[in-house]
Subunit: 252 residues, 2 copies
């Protein structure tokens, strides 16, 4: 028996998110199906995080246990022959049998992509949110500074969240232009439900002049979801990178 | 009665190409349907060029005649409310009633996109061809020089072509790196069936060392399709820009 860690990338367009659901096609469900088929045993992966319907990922982590003798590194290739085109295993490797992807310190980076032009090419429509009015990037950068560090992000968390605490640490936020796109890059050790999408919606408010950069300080202090901006649409969001900070759980 | 010119962009993934076909969904067919619905008359556009199934476009041109009184510039907005998300009218304008998009000198630029890395993000899979082995861009650039200018491109044209002459002029070819992508940009006044895809397939041969840059000269001189490289897959191809060089047919 060995435990294998997978790094998985996907185009979230066709999926009802990461997590297995009844009567819906999910990324986790497709992985379980491909793995069970490959290993000839019933396999259910344990994911390190979830994404909502329509969100994309370059770096989702999950583990599974198997009796199959194939070297762990070979699983990525073998699984990719069974998975649909819009889900790809980037790499696979063996980890210690007590390694649990949700009981580890991590650093994740999400990117929110905004196509900031009057015309968005149809080939971009599934991967960026279009905002026709010009965004003030300097104002967005200034606003983002209030969010960096350890804060109670209750105002930046879906009211539906059941998290025990809404205190989280954002290690960095960058707002930059890439061609016609404005990209909001948010790094942290863990995120609340809808946190990055609410941050994106709020920074867009600031970029459009609906709110001033310094208003973000008041929004944080309000500890009330209704104080912050709208939840930006899912399809603009990408889980860009994911790192486990405690490497001891990972075999060399 | 007025003649209106449309600039149309599309994600070609879901379409059996530009041209109307029985029992297949095409870009031209969707435009005819949306226009006929909007104008309450049977409308068939006249396209300036075609693309194959899976090819994308940022700048396809077509005209139509209508009795509708709406100003020509408003058609883009009105049509976009009726068209599917993956087809967008970029702009619309009135042209002289004798303007014909296929009887005009034009300059077109196609781009062929190659994702040149071991791993291609699933969000790129519909818009770039993946080549895992490293491409030698300098060799591709050198090879491309033999193709620039007026030549008989019989070796770089589908054997199924029915064109009267296979002489065409390529005004420029550039090969450049954009992140992980290698982009082949080809400009000219008109192209033969599959010409850009065969050029891309041939330059990839050179980039991989299968052929030398100077072999391209012999391929041209052979006047034989079997002398040149493979036809690169459709989904890597994008019609990037399209210009009419005789502006007299266009109203100000």
């Amino acid at each position: 028996m060995k435990r294998v860690l997978l790094c998985v990338a996907y185009d979230g367009t066709a999926y009802a998110g990461w997590q297995v659901q009844k009567n819906a096609v999910t990324v986790e469900g497709e992985l379980n199906k491909a793995l069970s088929d490959l290993c000839k045993e019933t396999i259910e992966v344990i994911g390190a995080s979830r994404t909502d319907a329509g969100v994309h990922s370059l770096s989702s982590m999950c583990v599974f246990d198997t009796n199959m003798r194939m070297p762990a590194e070979k699983f990525s290739f073998a699984l990719n022959t069974k998975l649909p085109d819009d889900i790809r295993v980037v790499w696979s490797k063996e980890v210690n049998e007590n390694f649990h992807p949700r009981h580890c310190s991590t650093e994740k980076t999400y990117e929110y992509h905004i196509y900031n032009a009057d015309f968005m090419p149809p080939t971009k429509r599934l991967y960026a949110y279009q905002e026709r009015r010009e965004l003030n990037i300097e104002a967005m950068k200034e606003a983002s500074k209030y969010l960096v560090g350890e804060h109670d992000f209750k105002s930046f968390c879906s009211a539906e969240s059941t998290a025990e605490t809404t205190v989280r640490t954002i290690t960095d936020i960058d707002v930059f232009k890439d061609g016609e796109e404005v990209v909001i890059s948010v790094s942290g050790n863990g995120f609340l439900y809808n946190q990055v999408r609410i941050i994106a919606g709020t920074l867009m408010w600031v970029g459009l002049g609906v709110r001033k950069p310094e208003d973000v300080k008041d929004m944080l202090e309000a500890l009330d979801r209704s104080a912050s901006g709208p939840t930006a649409p899912a399809h603009g969001l990408l889980l860009k990178s994911f790192k486990f900070l405690e490497e001891e759980g990972l075999k060399p």
